[in-house]
Subunit: 335 residues, 2 copies
Amino acid sequence: MRHVADRAGVSYQTVSRVINDADGVAPATRDRVLAAMRDLNYRPSVAARSLARARTDTIGLVLPFPVDVTFANAHFLQTIGGVDRVVAENDYSLLVSSPNDEDPALSAHRRMVRRRAVDGVIVEAGMGDEGIELLVEAGYPVVAIGHVAVAVPSVQPDDESGAYGAMQHLLALGHRRIALIAGNAPANLAQQARLRGCRRARIDAGLPLDEDLVATGEFSLESGHEAAARLFDRADPPTAVLAFNDAMAIGAMRLLRERGIDVPHEVSVVGFDDTPTASLLTPSLTTVRIFSSELGQRAARTLIGMLHGTKVPPVPAVLPSQLVVRQSTAPARRG
Amino acid sequence: MRHVADRAGVSYQTVSRVINDADGVAPATRDRVLAAMRDLNYRPSVAARSLARARTDTIGLVLPFPVDVTFANAHFLQTIGGVDRVVAENDYSLLVSSPNDEDPALSAHRRMVRRRAVDGVIVEAGMGDEGIELLVEAGYPVVAIGHVAVAVPSVQPDDESGAYGAMQHLLALGHRRIALIAGNAPANLAQQARLRGCRRARIDAGLPLDEDLVATGEFSLESGHEAAARLFDRADPPTAVLAFNDAMAIGAMRLLRERGIDVPHEVSVVGFDDTPTASLLTPSLTTVRIFSSELGQRAARTLIGMLHGTKVPPVPAVLPSQLVVRQSTAPARRG
DNA sequence: TGCGCTAGCGTGAACGGTGACATGAAATCC
DNA sequence: GGATTTCATGTCACCGTTCACGCTAGCGCA
């Protein structure tokens, strides 16, 4: 195939030079080569190139869940959107690997390791760190998105102060009985950070965290609905709900509407993530914005930097989060 | 690297045989080789392998929009979920390419073509067929998901009879003034098929299609909301709405709720896609199920079949669609 | 005993590029 | 005007695998 190219032109290795537009090629020959390439509709083979150069210009992306469930989560959606954008800009390709049913925890990582087809890997945290260790052991540069315990560079939102701000906001509005709809994976570090933030805000206000007002869900709208049902079935229901993502907050709002409880005048609701729909609801949702897309972009940029030789210390880069106050929160009623 | 392996064992090409578990290897040697591979923590190089075998065991996926917007659409989400599953099952990798801002129509295809890194490509239809032609010219096996005019194998839902069924259902309930919330790309073939279905149902009932009751949106919840606003601002609002996807139907329902119009007793609403949320709404949404995930699975299986040498004629495989009647439709009021 | 067959393994040549170095011609220098 | 530098191009080895052979030893069989 290369032979064809230089038959059209004159030489051989020169073609390679042209392709990699190295200097030291006369404009005239370059043009001839380019023309020949076009005529023969020649495309270089990545396989051969990556064999010779020992790199693939491809970045792996390991998802925590199958594609359809991962992307059903607005936060992940935005994050990966950010990754995608940066990857494309820098002319890398994106190879995705998602877990299969048999071995949700590790199969995606394993598949990525087995075929040595990527230069580096971006991992969505959240399913334990074993898989990440696997990748690191296999010698891949790895950047994690989210909270990880392993020593790899990572980018993460400031969950703790996000939660702190949200809780503080509710406290400032006079709420005292504040329910949490948290995640159902206590080991999850993001979860822990958020709980820490909530706890700290309450301590700073001189109040303990009301442990039995902590319900859990699995980040879907439905689970938020169910969790809220449990909370509002109680004899002494909360006056405010802080959910650990927007979907669950929306689920809670739906339950409240069904029960005829007014948001925000009877109960305030706060979400987490600031997904696009949050602002479109009625009432629009007060929520903690965590800049998901930026998270992904930053991760991708970091990894690409590493591939270009930049040394990145294995510490998390923390992106600030920010409380967005909208209509779903209001002062607590007297009484 | 291979040298290391056979140093540990005894031979050289035998290692290759072991890796591809070809026969003609004594169990004893095989074990020794495997042990050596493990000891040296050896992983074969995809690059070299694909160079030698002239295939990459990777399937390309060309998305119509950037990752974050593509997957925000529940239909695409499910579809790609199906693709992902089958691809993983068959031990292929998935390389995704999405368009950039400068050249939305073709950049994703081009990028896929340029680097010759995949064995075949799955394309989501909907952004014109030029890109697909590009891929075909470059010699890739291509399977399209959705309606295409190019001569490549494709899988598509039966949009026409889906729409027919939905329209018929509304007509049977006694509705006459039935509004459509269609897409805003008249050239889109899926769109045309659905319109055809609607029109046919009305003709079969002896009624023409009411052209000025056709609003358009861009398949988001908000656009459905806006389209519905236009429809119900009219002096003679419709008694039923048929939206071309669930998101727009939900947007329409939201508008109706805001205006205090009861669904289904005053106005019936029908969606398209049967997304997971459709069944969770109150009232739950009557909608046309199009088996998105199956669509994706089928496409992936078809492509993999082609890669294994199966000849597939360049005709669409049509998956039946099916009307799911739930609570959002009711008989038209008298008068 | 001699022959052919087969199972098991090794050999050499691709696959399609890249990178280091060598070469030759033209341009520059003294 | 010869020596030296510079620019443009060619040569060669190698990246890590697979594939099509070829070789060898052991076995069965006449």
